[in-house]
């Protein structure tokens, strides 16, 4: 098990990633970084990968499970494709370990624009980033 991260850890990691992305002008290199990011995901127990946690609208399979620990939303998520798993890791960095209110107010578009990934956010994109974020926010909204 990787160590449980705090919101501050995630923010720092996102900042680091955005800076690294600025230096990479080749998408192959960016994808390589995303793939590595996916490797650091908290493992998602197989029992949580159910039809109920499955996110529709992705070419690959994506599962998102969320629960409330006191005031804090905790998520685990996974995908069977490496690059999408990297996107899942990004979503965790933006949303995990925040209050439900913070989850509702995350400006995902701003982060993704900084990373040059904003075009992946439009509805109908096959990677399902849009659906993933909708799911994460719906869980927090209860």
């Amino acid at each position: 098990m990787t160590e449980e991260r705090t919101a501050a850890d995630y923010e720092a990691k996102l900042e680091e990633l955005a800076e690294a992305f600025e230096f990479l002008d080749d998408w192959e290199d960016r994808y390589e970084m995303l793939i590595e990011l996916g490797d650091e995901l908290q493992p998602m127990p197989g029992a949580l990968k159910t039809d109920a946690t499955k996110v529709k609208g992705c070419l690959s399979q994506v599962w998102v499970y969320g629960s409330r620990e006191g005031e804090t939303m905790r998520y685990v998520a996974d995908s069977d494709a490496h690059i999408v798993r990297g996107l899942v890791a990004l979503v965790m960095m933006m949303f995990d370990a925040r209050s439900a209110e913070a989850v509702a107010n995350v400006d995902a578009k701003a982060w993704l624009t900084r990373l040059g990934l904003d075009q992946h956010l439009s509805p109908g994109r096959s990677n399902g980033l849009h659906s993933m974020i909708q799911r994460v926010q719906a869980i927090a909204a209860g």
Binding site: D25, D26, W27, E28, R30, Y31, E32, I35, L59, S60, Q61, D80, A81, H82, I83, V84, S126, N127
Partner: protein, 408 residues
């Protein structure tokens, strides 16, 4: 006329662009949609820039010019597919729309409980679901014609599905997800011998071979312009005149009527009976321009070139470790569907895109095919007359690199 790939490629402006900084487009997704030659783009633009009018009713010059161009396109289609009469060419929104038209008119008027409709296991969802809907409405039964593990539909397998209950046999000329050619001539003959009518989905077929609907004997033949180097949103339903005449109209509206009264209306003659509303004028004219473009080429030489690149691609892909081609029929169109051991197709597709290489990944609207092979999707590279060996070399390099990155 000698075939020149460079000359063909110069006709397609979309080929000449960078999709990411420094990454030139390598377009291997022509089975999804083919790129358009400049002459097609010009024809579409000229409809809006000059001959911008509604068709069939106007007495003014622009309307007459637009009408003449739409009807000239119908003649071009008629001759391109070898139809007996221009009235047998109905413009639709595409293949899907054409299949739905037949299912909702011929199907609803003729199918009843106990009847059987045959579609192919390797079919596109458009053919499966269109007939499934009309079966649910009429009580008829939908039966899949099985394929073997090479992705082939054999004449024997088809014959075994036929019975006296069979009323419609609808199947593709070429599988969009596997590239295998179906023995459509024999299938049509067999279906007719049992009194069933036939619909051939030619969306992938007409692109890779010459088609003559009269020689084939198909009752209905459908295709989409956009896979044949024409615009999106326009397609063709060919139907034998007697069948089309007996079919009730589908959509109501302008252009399809003869006389409208509240007690009941009478309908226009073929083909207008099936073309309600203002047609996709620019699309029709663009389709005509695409056919003119192909007519002006040495099409046989162009198709031979495409087949040569296809053969080269099959050999080249074999050098990629852990790659398995699906669709290994005796006769294959230039659609290369494959899986990579330990690599998700969408990862491969994204990493290829990073290099400017466009392929398709997923189930290709053919989930039963994926179920047959026990997979969720494939990567699919598909060729057109403008494809070259360089495209294949780029694909193979990209795949090898993707495998190194993803198999860790």
């Amino acid at each position: 006329m000698a075939f020149s790939l460079a000359s063909i490629r110069s006709d397609f402006p979309a080929l000449h662009q960078e999709v990411h900084p420094g990454k030139k487009l390598v377009y291997l997704d022509s089975a999804a949609t083919a790129l358009k030659p400049q002459s097609v783009i010009d024809a579409v633009v000229s409809i809006y820039a000059q001959d911008c009018a509604n068709v069939h009713r106007g007495v003014h010059a622009l309307s007459q010019r637009a009408t003449a161009r739409v009807e000239a396109a119908r003649d071009l289609v008629q001759h391109f597919i070898g139809a007996e009469a221009r009235e047998e060419v109905v413009f639709t929104r595409g293949t899907t729309d054409a299949i739905n038209l037949v299912a909702q008119t011929w199907g609803r008027a003729n199918l009843k409980a106990g009847d059987e409709v045959l579609v192919a296991e390797l079919d596109h969802h458009s053919n499966i679901v269109s007939w499934q809907l009309v079966c649910e409405a009429t009580g008829a039964t939908l039966k899949p014609i099985p394929m073997n593990d090479r992705g082939e539909v054999t004449v024997e397998a088809f014959e075994a599905c036929l019975s006296d209950k069979t009323k419609v046999c609808a199947f593709p000329q070429v599988s969009n997800s596997l590239g295998t050619l179906l023995p459509i001539r024999q299938m049509i003959e067999l279906a007719h011998s049992r009194g069933a009518i036939t619909l051939v989905d030619g969306a992938q077929g007409i692109v890779h071979s010459r088609v003559n609907v009269q020689e084939l004997g198909a009752d209905f033949y459908t295709f989409s312009a956009h896979k044949l180097y024409g615009p999106t949103g326009i397609g063709v339903l060919y139907g034998k005149r007697a069948l089309l005449e007996a079919m009730p109209p589908w959509q109501g509206g302008g252009d399809m009527i003869d006389r409208v009264r509240f007690e009941g209306s009478t309908y226009n003659d073929l083909p207008f009976k099936f073309e309600a509303g203002t047609p996709h004028i620019a699309g029709v004219v663009g389709l005509g321009a695409a056919i003119e473009y192909l007519n002006a080429l040495d099409l046989d030489a162009a198709l031979q070139h495409e087949a040569d690149v296809h053969a080269y691609a099959i050999e080249a892909l074999e050098t990629v470790d852990g790659l398995t081609l699906l669709g290994k029929g005796a006769r294959q169109a230039s659609v290369l569907s494959f899986v990579l051991e330990g690599v998700h197709p969408t990862d491969a597709g994204s990493l290829l895109d990073a290099r400017g290489i466009a392929i398709r990944t997923g189930h290709h609207c053919a989930q039963p095919v994926m179920d047959h092979f026990g997979i969720t999707g494939t990567a699919r590279a598909s060729l057109a007359i403008y494809s070259g060996r360089d495209d294949i070399d780029a694909l193979v390099d990209g795949l090898k690199r993707a495998c190194r990155m993803l198999r860790r």
